[in-house]
């Protein structure tokens, strides 16, 4: 298993797209931090990058990588290797290499310019989002044989998580404005890892006051240690569930 991970990581780290991704993140974070003298403002600008770009790159690159490794996977399956081990190693290798580029591109500048609890939470959320979206990408790529269709599905999924979900939530809020929905909203945010990540970081930034009464409820729920723990558990579930489902499906896939 370790050997396959090694081959996947060396293969991806040589990939020019990943190098460009790392360099791009590095450029963005350095320019953000040198434009603002207040590191917290810089973090706030970086927040949107993390919540939009990191999931996008992870999900699309993950899916394309799985499609392009079809030959490699076929070769491995005919060898004396466990199918579970092959799939989990692919997942580990893919996530590990994207995490490395995230840590180099965003982690290092944050540690350098804005070393604080907020910065640490942001790095952790970024790493978790990378892994979550790699897992979702692998599930989508396994489900659809057609490459164009599969990549289209991953883009739609990203659109849903990054943009459409918020619109739906807003729509619900307006429709049921007469009811006390704050607690329900906190529950609904667990359905979207990006939202959950955003709430976790914003609460650490103490800008939750800007969110009015809802912000206070969120602070009440997510601000406590139990709430924090619960939201990290939910984020971990977002990793485990898609990977578990795709591993089970891969076991009986015909190649």
């Amino acid at each position: 298993m370790r050997k396959i991970i090694k081959y996947v990581i060396t293969d991806i780290l040589r990939n020019k797209i990943v190098l460009a991704y790392t360099f791009c993140l590095l450029l963005i974070s350095f320019s953000v931090f040198s434009l603002e003298d207040n590191p917290t403002k810089g973090l706030l600008s970086l927040l949107n990058i993390i919540l939009i770009i990191v999931p996008l790159i992870s999900i699309i690159f993950g899916a394309i990588y799985i499609y392009n490794s079809a030959e490699f996977i076929e070769l491995l399956v005919s060898q004396p290797l466990k199918r579970n081990a092959i799939w989990v190693s692919l997942f580990t290798g893919l996530s590990a290499s994207l995490i490395i580029s995230f840590l180099v591109g965003i982690g290092l500048p944050v540690l350098f310019y804005a070393f604080s609890l907020t910065g640490m939470v942001m790095i952790i959320v970024g790493v978790l989002l990378t892994v979550i979206f790699v897992g979702i990408a692998m599930l989508a790529a396994l489900q659809t044989r057609d490459k164009a269709k599969g990549i289209g599905i991953t883009i739609l999924l990203w659109l849903y998580f990054a943009l459409l979900f918020d619109g739906l939530v807003l729509f619900l809020l307006f429709q049921f404005a007469d009811y006390p929905l704050e607690k329900v909203m906190a529950g609904i945010s667990a359905l979207n890892p990006i939202d959950l990540g955003r709430i976790l970081i914003l609460l650490k930034m103490d800008v939750s006051a800007l969110m009015g009464y809802t912000g206070a409820v969120f602070k009440d729920i997510f601000g406590t240690t139990a709430g924090l723990l619960l939201s990290f558990i939910v984020l971990l579930l977002w990793i485990v569930l898609p990977v578990w489902i795709s591993t089970v499906k891969f076991k009986t896939k015909d190649l």
Partner: protein, 236 residues
């Protein structure tokens, strides 16, 4: 050595394998023959565990292969179209396979030198011609001295010299008591290699008999003529 019991496989509406049963023993060289799309490759992939049959079981060396993976150490597989990671060189692919199989002793590198692949170690897989790719596939199949060799269209795309090298190799390995399973369309090539014939059509195993019996039943000495006779007979 390999026991196949009533396996069936359906791809959508197409029945690729329909209740196929067969038994293959060591030191035999079995030719798997049939028209295109008759289920030969699917049968091979079932034995390798690459395709999971809908029903039925396959027993390898007395053990069920479902949920097992270690048995594949005993198999050398040469696919019909060898596909390898494009960015790797021949040398890297061979080293990777050695690494994955965790074997560096008792390797059979005779085909690598016979095909002259050792001089091409630095070439990337995407730059290789179809024939050279076939040579890589063949070398990898024989590299680990497996007990069973499964060769899917081994000589397709190979030049006459390489194809002779491969046929000689198959004959020597058969002499060492290994089971060789070959599919091919070029029947004249199989004449002096095979000891048994399996004939498939529309996902069904039509017959499985020794070559001597086939000659006797059809009255033909050449395999290609004998098979042609069988096909004509089955149409009538």
């Amino acid at each position: 050595m390999i026991q196949i019991n009533n396996i069936s496989k359906q791809f959508g509406r197409l029945k690729a394998l329909d209740q196929v049963s067969a038994a293959c023993d060591a030191s035999e060289c079995i030719a798997l023959i049939g028209p295109n799309g008759s289920g030969k490759t699917t049968l091979i992939k079932c034995i390798l565990g690459m395709v999971v049959p809908d029903s039925g079981s396959i027993i390898f060396d007395g053990k069920q292969i479902s949920n097992d993976w270690q048995y594949r150490e005993q198999i050398g597989y040469m696919p019909q179209i060898g596909r390898y990671p494009d960015n790797m060189t021949i040398g890297q692919v061979i080293d990777m396979m050695k690494d994955i199989r965790n074997k560096s002793l008792h390797l059979d590198e005779s085909l690598i030198t016979a095909f002259g692949l050792d001089k091409l170690y630095h070439k990337r897989m995407r730059t290789l011609s179809g024939g050279t790719r076939q040579k890589v596939s063949a070398s990898l199949a024989f590299l680990f001295n497996p007990k069973v060799l499964i060769l899917d269209e081994p000589t397709a795309g190979l030049d006459p010299v390489s194809s002779e090298i491969l046929k000689d190799k198959i004959t020597t390995e058969k002499g060492k008591g290994k089971l060789v399973l070959i599919t091919s369309h070029v029947l004249s090539e199989l004449d002096d290699l095979v000891t048994q014939v399996m004939y498939m059509q529309d996902g069904k195993l039509v017959f499985h008999k020794s070559i001597a019996l086939l000659h006797k039943d059809t009255g033909e000495q050449k395999l290609s003529k004998a098979i042609a006779r069988v096909m004509v007979n089955s149409e009538n």
